[in-house]
C-alpha cells in the first residue's frame, strides 16, 4: 500500500522517458491542484473569499476596530444622542462623525454593535455548521457503512425529523432554552450555545442523508475491499479509508450551509428567541428597528446590509467552490 508506482522515474533511458522529453510540460495533477487551478481563475469567488477573510478579521478584531474608530462599546447606553422629532418625541440621531452608523433607541452606538454583531453571527454560524457536519458525518457513515438495521433505524429517524416543520421546532427549543433559566433542569443555560445547538439539531439530518448516499457507493470500491482484506477494523475503514473521500464534498456543502445558518440565527433572533439582549445580533437589531424604521432608517439599513453582504459573500464562495469541484455543472 505504500508509494505509488511512478513509471516515468522507474524506467530511465527507455522509450518512456523519450516520450516525457518530448512533452516536458505534462505532469499529473492531483485533484486538489485541478480544483485550485479552476478556483484561481474565478474572480468572483476570490473576491467573495477576500470579503469573508475581512469579515472574520473584523469579527476577531472587533474591540480594536471600535477603539480605532473612537466609537463607544456596543452595550453602552446613553441619552445624549437624541433629537426632538417633529411631534416632540425624542428620536435617536442618525449617522454623524461621532456615531458613524447613528445610534439605536437606547442610545447605543450602532457602528460598534454592527461590528460586534459580525462576531456573534459568524461564531454561531461556524460552530453550528461544524457541529451539524460532525453529527451528520458520523450518522451518515454508520448508516451507509453498516447498512441493515443500523441504516433502517438511523434513516427512519432522519425521515421523522425531516417531517417536522423545522423553523417551528427551532423556535420551540430555542424559546424553551433561551428564555428564563434554561432547559432540561438548568442543564442547558441560555446563551449563544443554545442557538448553536438548536441550529445543529435541525441541520444535521440533511448532511447525514448526503453522507449516507456517498458512503453506500464508496464502501463497494476496491480500496475498501483491499483494506478489509488486510484486516482493517470497521472503525479504521470508516474513518481512515472512507472519510478522506468525503472531505471535498463536505467542504463545499459546509460553505453552502454556512449562509443558511447565518440566516437561521438571524431569523431566530429576529423572532426574539435567538441571541438574547444585550448581545448584539443583526437579526435582533432588524426586529428592534421594525418599530422605528420610518424615523430611524439607519437602524434597519446597517445591520440589514451587513447581514445581506455576509450571506451573499458565503453564497458566492460556495458557488465558486462547487463549480471548481464539479466543472460539468459550471455556471458559465
Amino acid at each position: 500500500m505504500t508509494g505509488t508506482v511512478d513509471f516515468a522515474r522507474e524506467a530511465p533511458g527507455d522509450e518512456g522517458s523519450a516520450l516525457i522529453d518530448v512533452m516536458p510540460d505534462v505532469a499529473a495533477r492531483s485533484p486538489f491542484q485541478l480544483f485550485w487551478r479552476r478556483l484561481r481563475t474565478d474572480r468572483v469567488a476570490l473576491a467573495a473569499a477576500a470579503l469573508i477573510v475581512l469579515l472574520v478579521l473584523m469579527a476577531i478584531c472587533a474591540p480594536l476596530i471600535v477603539k480605532l474608530v473612537g466609537a463607544r462599546p456596543p452595550n453602552q447606553q446613553s441619552d445624549k444622542y437624541f433629537s426632538l422629532g417633529k411631534v416632540g418625541v425624542p428620536s435617536p440621531t442618525g449617522p454623524s462623525s461621532k456615531n458613524l452608523f447613528g445610534v439605536d433607541p437606547l442610545g447605543r452606538d450602532l457602528f460598534s454593535r454592527v461590528v460586534y454583531g459580525a462576531r456573534v453571527s459568524l461564531e454561531i454560524a461556524l460552530a453550528a455548521t461544524a457541529l451539524s457536519v460532525a453529527i451528520g458525518l458520523v450518522v451518515g457513515l454508520f448508516a451507509g457503512y453498516f447498512r441493515g438495521w443500523v441504516d433502517t433505524v438511523l434513516s427512519r429517524l432522519v425521515d421523522v425529523l425531516l417531517a417536522f416543520p423545522i423553523l417551528l421546532l427551532g423556535i420551540g427549543i430555542a424559546s424553551a432554552c433561551s428564555l428564563g433559566h434554561g432547559c432540561l433542569g438548568g442543564l442547558i443555560k441560555p446563551g449563544l450555545g443554545v442557538v448553536i445547538l438548536v441550529i445543529s439539531f435541525v441541520n444535521w439530518t440533511y448532511i447525514a442523508r448526503i453522507v449516507r448516499g456517498q458512503v453506500l457507493s464508496l464502501r463497494e470500491r476496491e480500496f475498501v475491499e483491499a483494506a478489509r482484506s488486510l484486516g482493517a477494523s470497521h472503525m479504521r475503514i470508516m474513518f481512515r479509508e472512507i472519510l478522506p473521500n468525503l472531505v471535498a464534498p463536505l467542504i463545499v456543502y459546509a460553505t453552502l450551509i454556512i449562509p443558511q445558518n447565518i440566516l437561521f440565527e438571524a431569523a431566530l433572533s429576529f423572532l426574539g428567541v435567538g441571541v438574547q439582549p444585550p448581545d448584539p445580533s443583526w437579526g435582533k437589531m432588524i426586529a428592534d428597528a421594525t418599530d422605528v424604521f420610518d424615523t430611524a432608517w439607519w437602524y434597519m439599513v446597517f445591520p440589514g446590509a451587513a447581514l445581506l453582504l455576509t450571506v451573499l459573500a458565503f453564497n458566492l464562495l460556495g458557488d465558486g467552490l462547487q463549480d471548481a469541484i464539479n466543472p460539468r455543472a459550471s455556471r458559465s
Binding site: I171, G172, N315
Partner: protein, 320 residues
C-alpha cells in the same frame, strides 16, 4: 400506483404519530414557561395554580397526558383546548388556515412562474448580459432574509408608513370571503416579498438543470428535425429539466402551509405561523401540538404529491 399511494398514506399516519410523540416529549421536557402559572393571571397563589394544573391534567404523568391526547385525536379528531384561552385548538387552527393558504398559494404561483421564466431565459442566453444580470439578482434574492425584504417593502411602498403609497401596510389582511378586493390588495406586497426570495432559488435551479439538459443528444436531434427553437427549449428541454423544480416546490409549499412564520410576523397576517409562534411563547402545549402536527401533515402530504406527480412528468418513473 394505487397500492403505492395507500402504502405511503399508511406510513404518513405512522410518521404523524411519531412526530406528535416527539413534540409531546420535547415540550413536556422543555416547557418555556409553566402554563398553569400563565393561566393563573396577575396574582397567582399556590392553591389556584394547583387547581388549574389539575383542571388541565398537568398533574398526571406525561404518558397519561399523551394517551388522553391521542385518544381524543383519533376518536373525535379533537386537538384539545388551548391552555391560554380554553378555545378549541381545531377551531383556532381552522380560523387561521385561510390566511396562510392564501399567502402561500398566491406566492407560490408567482414564484414558480417568475422563477421558471427567469431560469429558462438565463439558460438559453447563458453567459450573456441578461443571464449575468438575472443571476446576480437571483443571488442577492437568495441571500436576503424575507423579513428584511418585507420591511424594506413596507418602508418604501406601504400606504401608512411608506414613502410612496402603493400597497396596504402591515396588519391590513382581510379575509377572502369578507372582501375579495381588499383580500387581494392586502396580500399583494406579502406575495411579492415572499415570492422574490423563492423565485431566486427556482431560477437558479431550473437554469442549472436546463443547461445540462440542453446539451443532451436528443435536443440536437430535435433541432435537426427542424423544430422551432421555443418548442425545443420548452417542450423538450424544460419538460425534462423540471423534475427538481417540482420537488423543491412541493417541499417549500408544504413547509409554508404549516405556517409562513417570518412573513406572517412582518406583515402581521393572522395565519397559522403567527398562531404557532404565539403558542410557543405562551407554552401552550395543545396549540403547539396542533400546529406542529398540521405542519408535519402538510410536509408529508406534499412529499407524497410530488412523488405521484413524478409519474406524470417523467414516464420512466413507475411505482409498484
Amino acid at each position: 400506483m394505487i397500492r403505492y399511494i395507500v402504502r405511503r398514506l399508511l406510513w404518513m399516519v405512522v410518521l404523524l404519530f411519531l412526530v406528535s410523540a416527539i413534540t409531546f416529549l420535547i415540550f413536556y421536557a422543555l416547557p418555556s414557561a409553566d402554563p398553569a402559572v400563565l393561566r393563573a393571571g396577575r396574582q397567582p397563589n399556590t392553591q389556584l395554580i394547583a387547581h388549574i394544573r389539575h383542571q388541565l391534567g398537568l398533574d398526571r404523568p406525561w404518558y397519561v397526558q399523551y394517551w388522553h391526547y391521542i385518544k381524543r385525536l383519533v376518536l373525535h379528531f379533537d386537538f384539545g383546548y388551548s391552555y391560554q384561552n380554553l378555545i378549541s385548538v381545531r377551531r383556532q387552527i381552522f380560523e387561521r388556515l385561510p390566511a396562510t393558504i392564501s399567502l402561500t398559494l398566491g406566492a407560490a404561483v408567482l414564484w414558480i412562474v417568475v422563477g421558471m421564466a427567469v431560469g429558462t431565459i438565463s439558460a438559453v442566453y447563458r453567459g450573456r448580459l441578461v443571464d449575468r444580470v438575472a443571476m446576480t439578482g437571483a443571488l442577492v434574492g437568495i441571500s436576503a432574509p424575507v423579513y428584511l425584504l418585507g420591511l424594506v417593502g413596507l418602508y418604501f411602498f406601504a400606504n401608512d408608513t411608506g414613502k410612496i403609497h402603493v400597497f396596504p401596510g402591515s396588519g391590513s389582511y382581510t379575509g377572502l370571503t369578507v372582501n375579495p378586493v381588499k383580500w387581494f390588495t392586502s396580500l399583494l406586497l406579502p406575495w411579492i416579498v415572499l415570492a422574490t426570495t423563492q423565485a431566486a432559488i427556482y431560477a437558479r435551479l431550473l437554469r442549472a438543470n436546463l443547461i445540462d439538459t440542453l446539451s443532451e443528444d436528443y435536443i440536437r436531434t430535435a433541432r435537426a428535425k427542424g423544430l422551432s427553437e421555443p418548442r425545443v427549449v420548452i417542450v423538450h428541454g424544460v419538460r425534462s429539466a423540471i423534475t427538481p423544480v417540482v420537488t423543491a416546490a412541493g417541499l417549500d409549499v408544504g413547509i409554508l402551509l404549516g405556517g409562513a412564520i417570518l412573513t406572517e410576523t412582518v406583515f402581521n397576517i393572522p395565519g397559522v405561523g403567527h398562531l404557532a409562534y404565539e403558542s410557543i411563547k405562551n407554552s401552550d402545549l395543545p396549540m403547539i401540538q396542533g400546529t406542529v402536527l398540521l405542519g408535519a401533515f402538510f410536509i408529508i402530504l406534499l412529499n407524497l404529491v410530488v412523488d405521484v406527480l413524478y409519474a406524470f412528468i417523467d414516464p420512466r418513473v413507475r411505482y409498484a
